[in-house]
């Protein structure tokens, strides 16, 4: 329930947030951003592990720690939901119905149906629902979107996106390693970011041919051929076992554009067709500097706060967060095994390896 003085005094007090779920992303990204934001403050940290919530509350100067979000929901202006994926929908829906605005971590839900229920709950509770697809807040992401929308590359003939890192993420729990709590493997975890960017840049997708390496568990590598309504078709490869180039290359009629997709301040290279000199640099707002992830999360939380105050849609509303989930659902539904040509089983010495 939104009752605090902050709502009636847009220039005054900060919005008071509950951070629900105190795992790695809350620790590394949300809490540092909230602590430097001028528009929000953390009022209470909620985690099933009270010791963890208390330790983080001490570290970030948050007055209260709790184990049940329901006990604090009516004392805050909004909530950041950073729980395991399987809890995103039920907890967000409950909060939204109570009228508490929610910024939910990515992926917003386990599938498109859950996302629909969240969007409906936001309408019902007249509360803002924002999705933590923070990569959209990179200046580079907006720059690429503008460049493509304005048609500066000419017609896009194809694209090639390779995103892969061997993770060093400081897991607080093992939820990302289980299908029932993660929903999916690398596609749902890393893939949701880069697919969201692609859909934001390129528009509506029309067809997908998807393969991954799951064999009774969660995929760690996947690739797809993805076609768009515009007629452009390209390849996407996503990995959490390999360090890939982490860029997307767009082949346009007039120029080729390469942009980093795993870095808040990536290099962007523009090569004009049939010209030997290329331009390489970084996207900047006037007077702006390169972003780091704290800057990005501050932008995200400030946009969330502004949406609540101004009664407008956030930069990434539920309907936008849903788009990549639809594509991910289609990928899993049409899944085929990824060929791993080195992974032959033992055979007599000298046996021919299938090529």
């Amino acid at each position: 329930m939104v009752t605090s003085a902050a709502m009636n005094d847009p220039q005054g007090a900060k919005l008071r947030l509950a951070v629900v779920g105190c795992g790695a992303v809350a620790t590394i990204h949300h809490l540092p951003a909230i602590s430097v934001s001028e528009t929000v403050e953390a009022a209470v940290l909620v985690d099933a592990d009270l010791g963890r919530a208390r330790a983080l509350a001490d570290r970030f100067g948050v007055p209260e720690a709790a184990t049940d979000y329901r006990a604090v929901a009516d004392r805050v202006d909004a909530a950041v939901v950073a729980l395991p994926n399987s809890l995103h929908a039920p907890v967000s829906i409950d909060l939204l119905r109570r009228g508490v605005p929610v910024l939910v971590e990515k992926p917003m839900a386990m599938d498109g149906r859950e996302a629909d229920a969240m969007i409906a709950a936001a309408a019902e509770g007249k509360a803002v629902l924002a999705v933590g697809l923070d990569f959209r807040f990179f200046d580079s992401s907006l720059f690429v979107r503008n460049l493509l929308r304005d048609g500066l590359l000419g017609e896009i003939r194809g694209f090639d996106l390779r995103q892969g890192v061997i993770p060093r993420w400081p897991f607080a729990t093992d939820f990302l390693l289980k299908k029932e709590t993660a929903g999916g493997g690398v596609l749902a975890d890393f893939g949701v970011h880069v697919l969201d960017l692609l859909l934001w840049w390129m528009g509506e997708w029309t067809e997908v041919d998807y393969r991954d390496d799951a064999q009774g568990g969660l995929e760690s590598d996947c690739e797809m051929t993805l076609g768009f309504r515009s007629g452009a078709s390209g390849k996407v490869e996503i990995s959490r076992t390999r360090n890939l180039r982490n860029t997307c290359v767009f082949e346009g009629e007039r120029a080729t554009l390469e942009v980093g997709v795993w870095d808040p301040d990536p290099e962007i290279t523009l090569r004009i067709a049939d010209r030997e000199v290329a331009l390489a640099g970084r996207a900047r707002r006037p007077g702006g500097e390169g972003l780091d992830f704290t800057d990005v999360f501050v932008r995200q939380i400030d946009d969330f706060a502004a949406a609540i105050r101004e009664g407008r849609e956030p930069f990434v509303p539920g309907s936008e967060g849903r788009r990549s989930l639809d594509l991910i659902d289609a990928c899993y539904a049409g899944r085929r095994p990824l060929e791993l040509p080195w992974s032959v089983l033992p055979a007599p010495a000298g046996r021919e390896i299938p090529s």
Binding site: G164, P167, R168, W169, P170, F171, D174, L176, L177, K178, G185, V186, D213, A214, Q215, G216, G217, L218, E219, S220, R240, T241, R242, N243, L244, R245, L340, P341, W342, S343, V344, L345, P346, A347, P348, A349, G350, R351, I353
Partner: protein, 395 residues
């Protein structure tokens, strides 16, 4: 009993693997699930490393091999334990402690869980610096003077004394997809600099493809004759180090430019020089020298360059010295591609001895008692490794 005949031996059995997020344990978990229908549990210290493992329906228990409570949970109800974990973090002393104490605690957990067998992964290095000629399991174990091999030797003793039926495997250089020391590290090293081939690389490298080692582990878990025994596990035939490094270098292209022949004395002198000077001094100076003629002329009379010349004449083969001269004269443009593109990695003295030895590891005991038959010759194993390395963006 050969590998074909053990199908069914693991079906439905609950198996614990330590080190299951690693190179060997990971492939073992994969094959136990996919080929043998085992119910696999893995003790995982670093959850971020488990991505590849959870592609399969395995149970992850969070903890490390020194955590007795996590071990008890993980081993509970397990009939079979494969102990592949070893210390990979922290100081050498800490790693050695993990190797000894971790093995003791894993065996204790296995004993309490009434496991019928533990397969303990050891190493060829428990035999110390090996001599020319045949080596089999009757050779004396020797301390090698480094924490890893000495602690693995102690771990073998701890395992055998545990009262649990134990089989120990002593693999040679294990390579293959997702391989560390003998795969990815070699590729990274050859990318960054040149490998010294001691005595022209005529020493023998005993190596085993990961799937052959995993097959041996499966056999050691099943064969009654394996209990209380240690087995050397290697490929059918050794290869020369020239073949080994040459094959990796070819994956990267420009193979010959990534290795350099030296005698053992030259390699030792090069090592000593490298220890006495700041790292990269040679490379930096050469880079500056290559920039332009004026810079070259100005700095060629400096003390550093005089030292560099002396060093070069002391440690570099004559052919190289000629190449340097030719290159300097040509303004830094190499006379040939092979010349001076990459710095040389100095080899510590024990490694010089290691690469010089013509040891031939015998696998007769594993063949006789386990029915072990290497299925991957060097060419096949390396072809598969190359396919993986290309996919993994390492080439």
């Amino acid at each position: 009993m050969s590998l074909e005949n053990i199908s069914g031996a693991f079906a439905g059995r609950r198996v614990l693997i330590t080190g299951g997020t690693g190179f060997i344990g990971g492939r073992l978990a994969e094959r136990l699930v996919l080929e043998h229908g085992a119910e696999v549990r893995v003790l995982v210290r670093n959850l971020a490393a488990a991505s590849r493992l959870v592609r399969f329906p395995v149970t992850v228990v969070r903890g490390d091999v020194t955590d007795e409570s996590a071990l008890a949970t993980a081993a509970s109800g397990c009939d079979l334990v494969f102990h592949c974990a070893y210390g990979t973090k922290g100081s050498q002393k800490l790693r050695a402690w993990v190797n000894r104490e971790g093995t003791r605690r894993v065996l204790e957990a296995a004993r309490k869980a009434r496991a019928s067998r533990v397969v303990n992964l050891s190493t060829l290095m428990v035999y110390g610096q090996t001599a020319d000629g045949d080596l089999d399991e009757t050779a004396p174990r020797r301390r090698f003077g480094n924490h890893y091999s000495d602690s693995k030797l102690d771990a073998e003793k701890i395992a055998f004394a545990s009262g649990v039926p134990v089989a120990v495997l002593q693999p040679t250089a294990v390579y293959g997809p997702y391989g560390g020391v003998w795969t990815e590290t070699v590729l990274r090293s050859l990318k960054a600099g040149r490998q010294i081939l001691v005595d022209g690389g005529r020493g023998l490298g005993n190596a085993v493809y990961v799937d052959d080692l995993v097959s041996a582990m499966l056999l050691a878990a099943v064969r009654d004759e394996a209990v209380g025994e240690a087995f050397l596990i290697s490929g059918e035939e050794p290869v020369t180090w020239r073949e080994m490094f040459g094959r990796f270098a070819r994956m990267l292209g420009d193979g010959p430019a990534r290795t350099v022949d030296m005698t053992a004395d030259e390699a030792l002198a090069f090592w000593r020089r490298s220890q006495g000077e700041r790292p990269r001094a040679v490379g930096e100076a050469l880079r500056i020298l290559r920039q332009d003629r004026q810079v070259r002329e100005r700095i060629q009379s400096t003390r550093e360059v005089l030292w560099l010349r002396e060093t070069a004449s002391a440690v570099l083969p004559e052919s190289w010295q000629e190449a340097i001269k030719a290159r300097m004269a040509s303004g830094g443009r190499p006379a040939s591609r092979a010349a001076l593109e990459l710095p040389i990695h100095p080899l510590p003295p024990p490694m010089i001895g290691f690469f010089r030895a013509k040891t031939r590891v015998r696998i007769d005991k594993a063949k006789r008692l386990l029915g072990y038959r290497p299925a991957f010759d060097f060419a096949t194993g390396m072809d598969l490794t190359e396919r993986w390395a290309r996919w993994a963006n390492l080439l």
